[in-house]
Every structure is written in structure tokens, then in C-alpha cells.
Symmetry: C2
């Protein structure tokens, strides 16, 4: 089932996946496919040679009107998928028919706050399915019955806290991030006991006065300092470290009230899974005023650089740079632009950007690349151990950034500015980056900046989608398009793959529907 992977990459693959997960070959056990977040399927039945025969096997449409931004999880022979604002469905793998559907009633007052009404997925362990809710709860459902087992209140929704990310289960803990960076929350990452929901720890991404990093937060600016943790992180079982991205500081575009670097915003933080304490951090965009959250999925890669095997965490950041960090120490290994950016001359030897003056948001407007939505956003990249490429969903777009005054009002946008996107000159791509150098190998161009996740497979394929509804397969080596299907809905989800018996399936959501594909006869 390892297909085109070399023996060496198989070894690496095994090293970066949690051992118990390998026992369930052909499943897709968590949001990003594995702890290393490769979003790589080792399945080979669907390959460059036969992908042209791929066709829908079944479709699932959730009740209600929510669109699907979720990556399904397949565990214990059942698929779990979510839809906005907050619902979970357990689906039969062969027929696509729901075994159960669970919908969280969401009050109009919650929906009317105006923040994204999405849910991106679940975590599963044994007989429990874990889901965060738009109104700020973490809930454990019985995996077979869809009945609530426990519920904990993670964050106050009226002040802008919500949960949209898929939780991550590590040993006996459910790790869950919080959304609300645009509402001036103080970000945190939480861990709860899988069986009882009892809180194990909370790590605040914004230090309180006296803590390390607090010098960048004068007065009470830290209270609304942002640093949300709104996407799922990765995990290295050998180091027992979680890798979690943090969002923009608050307010987003007016940094006057928050001097200094504003740790730990727009950063990657490595957190001890047992204690919730940070071991190291790396800040991509110090004193961010462009909304360049660093929540993109961190990808754990073991590779040879300069004749030396490096245990890396790599990421294509929203700020336009690709970074490779030592995942044990946080040491900056190298970084390089991977998309159009006009705000920094480059990175210094420690990976800190050498900023170009005058690129701050201003009253009259400042044109900067990338746009507020970044060179990439929450859509997941994928890493293939076979090609050693990171396949990144890229957004090539600039924005004119405006700065305004700002006052904090609970549960409203706390941004201190506005933005005009250069939609007409924008485009998108799936971009293949050599993980050892960050240099692009190929582009598959898209008419508009993409919101679709990517999945590479051992069949030599890269799957992704477009805002225009196409779901497609590319040759992982050349980027050549090999197959496509029009789903009719913008693809804002991540593809995944699983086995039923000897049959490989590929799933992706487009618009309001989940599509599951298999080879035709």
C-alpha cells in the first residue's frame, strides 16, 4: 500500500505517524490524515494510469443549509463529516446514508455576530467523536449513536469565541483551538480529558503582565490581543510536542495600542502535550498589521538537508514566505518567498523579516502583496514523501490596506481598518514546493485564489479543487491535470481517501454536498 514511495520515505512516513494509527490502514483518522499532517494517502489503487475512470460513487447532503468545509474522518469503518454552523453526520462508507445526524441548535444571537458559520471537522477516539461548536462548546458524542456524552464550555460566544477547527486527540487528551481573533479575544489552546471532558490545561497565546513576551503588550492591550488558534495543529509523538499556529494580534490592522512583537501572535508554538507549556515559538510576522495569521497547518517532515537528516516542521505562511524550522528546537533552518510579496526584502539569518518601510496600513491606503487573506490560508497543504514536495494552495492577490481608529466592543469586529482586494488581478494555484529549498517545481493555475485543500497520494496524484466547483487530479511530479469533476459548489474543504474492502475511495466537499468517488468499471 506504500506504492511509489521509496523504502527511505516509508521509514520516514512511519516515523512521523503515531504507531497505533498504522494499524487501521485505509482509514483517515484525523483532520490532517496523520499527526504529521502530511494529508498524504498511502493508497495506490487510484493512480495516474487509471484516475481518468474516477466517478462519483455517492453524494451526501447534510440537513439544513450549511456548506461543508470539513475534511471527513474515517474510523472504525464509519465516516464522520461536519457542516456549518455545527452538525455532525456519521455515514455508511458504502452507501453514504447517514447512520446518525447530530445538529447543535445555534441561537440567532450567535449566528448574528457575523463571524464565519463553519465547522471543519471532528476528532475520533474509540467510541467518541469530538466536535467544537459555533457557540463555544466542545462536545463528545457517542460514535455509534450520535448521543451527547459530555459537553464543556470552552469560550464565551457573546464576546466572539467560537470553535470552527477540528479538535485533535493525543493519548488521553482532546486538544481544541479557539476562533475569534477578529473579535479581540485573548487566544488560547485547551486540552480536555477524552473520557470526562475535564480540563487538563490551557495555554494562553497572549502572555499576561509579567510573563515572558508581555513587554510587547502595554497597558491592558493583552486582554484583547488576539492570537486565536482556529485551525488544527500537528503532533510529534517522539518529542511529545504539539505544533500549533496562532492568529493575528488584535486589533488586526491598527497596531498603535500594541507595541513590540506581540508574542505569540502570528507564530508557531511548540507545546508540551502533557503540561500545556510552550517549549519554543517562532514568530513569522512580528507586530503583524496585515492579518497574516500563522494558523496554516504545520507539516512535519524528515529529510536530508546539507548531508544531514533534519526533523523539520515546514509551513507555507500567509505572509508569502515558506519556512523550515527544526521541530525539536524551533531553530530557523531556512525560509524563502513562495508567492508574490512586497512587504519584506527577505528574512534575516534568524528568519525575521527584513521589512520594507511604508508597508503599514494607512489612512490613504497602502497596496501590499499578499492580500489580507494571505498567500495561502486555512486550506491544507499536502506533503508527499515520494516526491518530497509540499503542495500548497496558493492565493496570488494584493490588497490596499486602510487604517482607522478602533474601540473595543464585545462581540464585534475589532480590526482597526479595512481592505480593498485587487480581485481582478488575482489568481490561484496549486504550487509544488521542494521541501528542501522551498523552490516551486510547478504550478497548476486556477482562475481565482483557491480555498481548497490538497491531498497527495502514493498513486502519484495530487487532488484539489477550485472556487469554480471543479475537483481535479494532477500528476504529482509534473502538475499535469489528469481528471476533473464539476461538483457545482465552491470547494472549500480538504480531500481525503479511504478503503472499503479492496476499493479505494476519494472524498471532497463542494458547496453543500460531500462527494465520494471511486473508479468506474
Amino acid at each position: 500500500m506504500i506504492g511509489t514511495c521509496s523504502a527511505r520515505t516509508v521509514a520516514l512516513l512511519v516515523a512521523t505517524m503515531a504507531a497505533p494509527l498504522l494499524a487501521q490502514e485505509g482509514q483517515w483518522l484525523m483532520y490532517s490524515g496523520s499527526y504529521s499532517s502530511h494529508r498524504f494517502s498511502p493508497l495506490t489503487q487510484i493512480s495516474t494510469g487509471n484516475v481518468a475512470k474516477l466517478r462519483p460513487a455517492w453524494v451526501y447532503q447534510p440537513p439544513g443549509s450549511g456548506s461543508i468545509e470539513s475534511t471527513p474522518v474515517v474510523a472504525n469503518g464509519i465516516m464522520y463529516v461536519t457542516a456549518g454552523p455545527t452538525m455532525v453526520a456519521a455515514l455508511d462508507l458504502k452507501s453514504g446514508r447517514p447512520l446518525w445526524e447530530w445538529t447543535r441548535p445555534i441561537a440567532p444571537s450567535v449566528l448574528n455576530l457575523g463571524f464565519p458559520r463553519v465547522n471543519r471537522g471532528v476528532a475520533v477516539l474509540d467510541n467518541m467523536v469530538y466536535v467544537g461548536t459555533l457557540d463555544g462548546y466542545l462536545i463528545a458524542l457517542d460514535a455509534r449513536a450520535g448521543i451527547e456524552r459530555w459537553s464543556v464550555h470552552v469560550g464565551e460566544n457573546p464576546s466572539g469565541h467560537s470553535i470552527t477547527a477540528a479538535p485533535l486527540v493525543v493519548e488521553d487528551k482532546v486538544i481544541v483551538g479557539i476562533s475569534g481573533g477578529e473579535a479581540g479575544i485573548r487566544g488560547f489552546l485547551d486540552a480536555y480529558d477524552t473520557k470526562t471532558g475535564k480540563q487538563a490545561w490551557r495555554f494562553y497565546t497572549i502572555p499576561s503582565p509579567g510573563e515572558p513576551g508581555s513587554e510587547g503588550w502595554p497597558g491592558d492591550s493583552w486582554v484583547h490581543g488576539g492570537g486565536a488558534t482556529w485551525l488544527t495543529g500537528s503532533y510529534d509523538p517522539a518529542l511529545k510536542l504539539l505544533y500549533w499556529g496562532t492568529g493575528n494580534p488584535g486589533p488586526d490592522w491598527n497596531g498603535d495600542s500594541r507595541k513590540g512583537d506581540n508574542l505569540y501572535t502570528s507564530s508557531l508554538v511548540a507545546i508540551d502535550v502533557d503540561t500545556g507549556k510552550p517549549r519554543w515559538h517562532f514568530q513569522f510576522t512580528p507586530h503583524d498589521t496585515h492579518d497574516w495569521d500563522a494558523n496554516q497547518i504545520p507539516v512535519l517532515v524528515d529529510t536530508q538537508i546539507g548531508g544531514r537528516t533534519r526533523a523539520l516542521v515546514v509551513t507555507a505562511n500567509r505572509n508569502g514566505f515558506y519556512y523550515a524550522l527544526d521541530r525539536k528546537t524551533g531553530e530557523f533552518v531556512f525560509g524563502t518567498p513562495y508567492a508574490k510579496q512586497t512587504w519584506a526584502k527577505g528574512l534575516d539569518e534568524r528568519g525575521r523579516p527584513v521589512e520594507i518601510p511604508g508597508m503599514e496600513p494607512s489612512e490613504k491606503g497602502t497596496l501590499v502583496y499578499p492580500s489580507l487573506q494571505g498567500s495561502t490560508n486555512w486550506a491544507s497543504p499536502s506533503y508527499s514523501p515520494g516526491t518530497e514536495m509540499l503542495y500548497v494552495p496558493v492565493r496570488e492577490m494584493g490588497s490596499v490596506y486602510y487604517k482607522t481608529g478602533i474601540e473595543y466592543k464585545p462581540g464585534t469586529y475589532y480590526t482597526g481598518g479595512s481592505e480593498k482586494r485587487l480581485d481582478e488581478e488575482s489568481w490561484g494555484a496549486v504550487r509544488a514546493l521542494d521541501v528542501k529549498t522551498g523552490k516551486p517545481a510547478w504550478d497548476f493555475k486556477l482562475p481565482t485564489p483557491t480555498w481548497a485543500g490538497v491531498m497527495a497520494t502514493a498513486g502519484g496524484l495530487v487532488f484539489s479543487g477550485s472556487n469554480e466547483g471543479n475537483f481535479y487530479a494532477l500528476d504529482a511530479t509534473s502538475g499535469k491535470p489528469l481528471w476533473q469533476f464539476q461538483t457545482g459548489g465552491a470547494i472549500r474543504s480538504g480531500p481525503m481517501s479511504f478503503l472499503v474492502g479492496q476499493t479505494q475511495y476519494v472524498a471532497v466537499a463542494g458547496g453543500h454536498a460531500l462527494f465520494v468517488f471511486a473508479l468506474g468499471e
Copy 2:
């Protein structure tokens, strides 16, 4: 392209279709496929022998959250499909991508009236697309650009008028029915000039005092007499007669205020297309107190009965009986039960039901078959000239009918009762009826009473769907299932078929999405 039809049925087929329509072979020019409402595709590429290879070619999902109950129209090489509350999309036939999308802004006050928020399709003529709106307007759109050309106010929405049916174009007129029978409207059928929107005529389904039939409407009961015209009718170009079904009287379940037969409710009315005057009528359920609208699509069939060629209009009625009428005179030819019914001993020689006493709604509740939703409902049947069968979407269910007091309040439910459906003992079917006798030839059973339309084809197939999301093909002769696909959404729409070049496609909506199928390689 006529395939399995005999030469005789080809001749009949030609006779019952409007001649100009035949010029555009492979299109689907109106809601019911043709003026005779056979909902029969003469295409033969997809057949009993190869339907197993049918697979989705593309999917379309409309913007917003409305589900699709529409049958697409294909004309001039473009597909037009609608979704609720009121939107129209023009789609490219090969890719499924929208050429334009037009959405009617519908005020919350309209949506909040609580009546169905659906739209079932358009009519197309030359460069115009005609659509009725939930807020009671008929609008002509430019077929190429989706721009509004004219708009007329058909009915006051605050008093319960809305348009959900597809209009019908006959020569220079757009014929459009009105919904609102549950709101105590006075039903009517309207004709407007295709080019200007100027009203040509209005036919009220409830006579005003002094008109024929008014004796059954004491006092001002006629003002809220119901008789909505909420589905599309049929047309015989030779007779220049429209055949249009009318809905229940108002109030639905409490008939105390409306003595007599309550003409022309729960009836079929044949209307002169030039003048809007009724030529004949046939009432299926006199003094209806069970909400048995007669809006089901009337089907025009020419066949041999008793050695004589009869020009018939046939219908499987919501009240459980199948009727064959002479379509020139309205003469009752024969009628027979086609589903479980417990309210009538049979029909007399003029087709009037011989009612069983005590079957009226009552304070303590009265169990009657069929249920309020009828033995069939708005989902379209299909007639195959090849098999001479009418394929009916059947709902086998009873209800306990309750009678209450009633007061008219504009824009609210004016029903005078309530209902408890026997869901647990209910089921559904596609039922093949011999049009010459009304006797069932076969059943394809479904787990729940169906809302899916039916299409028969010259390829020997019958297509339909289920509430459980399956879209399937049956052998038209035996009812044997040959193929299915799980769409993930309840199928509450009518299938249709069209050609692009030499390739036959089949389309159906399930849930929020439109699926278009073709044969795989």
C-alpha cells in the same frame, strides 16, 4: 430516436405534441416535457441494456440555501433550472457551469408567511424565460443575459398568493397558476402576453354570485373559496384547450360555511386558450373536506378503448381514483381506484364518488385513506406511448382528520382542522397503470411515500427517485430496478432528458443539487 415505440405510438406521440416542438429534438422544452405532459423522453441512447453504466457527468448547486423542486427546461442549447425561494440559473449543457444566475430578493415578511418556499420551473419562448415568484409576480427574463424584461404583479402576497408552478407558454400567451389554497385565496388562472406582460385574461376558479356554480357558495364564502392552480397544466393544440387542475376549497377541512359541490375546486377545467372561458369541467371530489387538490398534472393520451380511438385526458387523482375523461367534452369514460382509499364505495356512471358516510373530519378524529397529502401529489407521473402505461408516484398513507372552528385572517392558514398522519404504516411506490383500464401492472416499492416525479423513456426505462436520495432506473415493462445513484438529498423534483450532440443526458434534482448523468465509458 423513437426506439421501442411502435409505428402507431409514434403517430400518437406526434399527434399529441405541438408540431414546432418536434423541430428541436433532444431538448426538453417545458416543465412536463410536452403539451401532452407525457414527461416521456423519445431518446434511446440510454437503454435497459446499458443504463448500468450511467454515472454523474456534472452537478450544479444554486447559490443560497434553497432546495430544488424544479424540472429543468432545455431550450436553444441552454438549461434553465430554478430553486427556492425564487432563483433561476441558465447552465451550459456540457459543463454545468452557470451562464447567469438570477435571484429574486424575497422579503422576510414573505418568507415568514409560512407557505412553501419553492419554485418548480420556468417556461421558455424564443429569447425569454418566464418565472413566477414567491412574492406573487410573473417575470420575463432575457434568456441569454438573465436580465429582467418585464414584470407583472399577479397576486397579493400578504393575503397568501404566491407562484410556485412553472408557467406554460402557448402561442403568444404565458399561462400561470397561483398558489395559496391554504390561505383562503380565490383561485384563478392568468394569461399574459409573452412580449409585453399585458394581461390577456383571468379565469377565476371560484364563481362570483350569479355565475354558474355560485349556488354552492353561500354568502361571501366564495371570496375565500380556494381552488388554487398551483401546478402546470396541459394543452391540446388541436382543440385549443388548456387542461388545468384546481385545488381544495377553502377552508380545507371544515366545509360548514360552503354548502354544495364548491365548483370549480378539486376539479379539472378545460379552458379556451384564446378567451380564458371554461369549456367543460370535471369535479373529482365534490365538497372536498380532505384537502384533495386535483392539481396533479393532467396527461393527454390517445388510445383504443372498446375498439374506438379515444382522445383522453387521464389523471391519477389525490383522492385515490384514476380517471379517464374525453378531452374534447369532459365526458367521464371510466374511473377506478389505484391506491388504498376508504372514503368512497366507488364512482357512479358519471364519475361522481359514492361516498361512505362518516368519513368527514370530526372533532374526535376520523381515519381516512388516503392521507391529506393524497395517493399522489404534485410529483409528475409519466406516460409511455410504448407501453401505454401511466407511471404514477404513489403515496400509500392514511390520516386521522380533525375538524375545528375557523376564522379567516389574511395571510394565515385557513384550514379549519388538523391532521395526524399514519407515518409508520405508510409507504410509497412507482406504480405502472394500464391507461386503458387503470389497473396496476407493477409496483416498485419505496420505504416512504414519494415526492419524486417520474420519466419514462423510449429506451424502455422509467426514472424516478426517493425521499432517501436514491435516483433509479426501472425496466418500463416489468418495474425491475436496473440502476441507482445516491444523491444525498430527498428527490422532490422531476427527471428529464436531453441530447448534447449525440450524447443523451438525464437530469434530476436531489436536495440542494442538480445531478446530470451520462453513460460512462
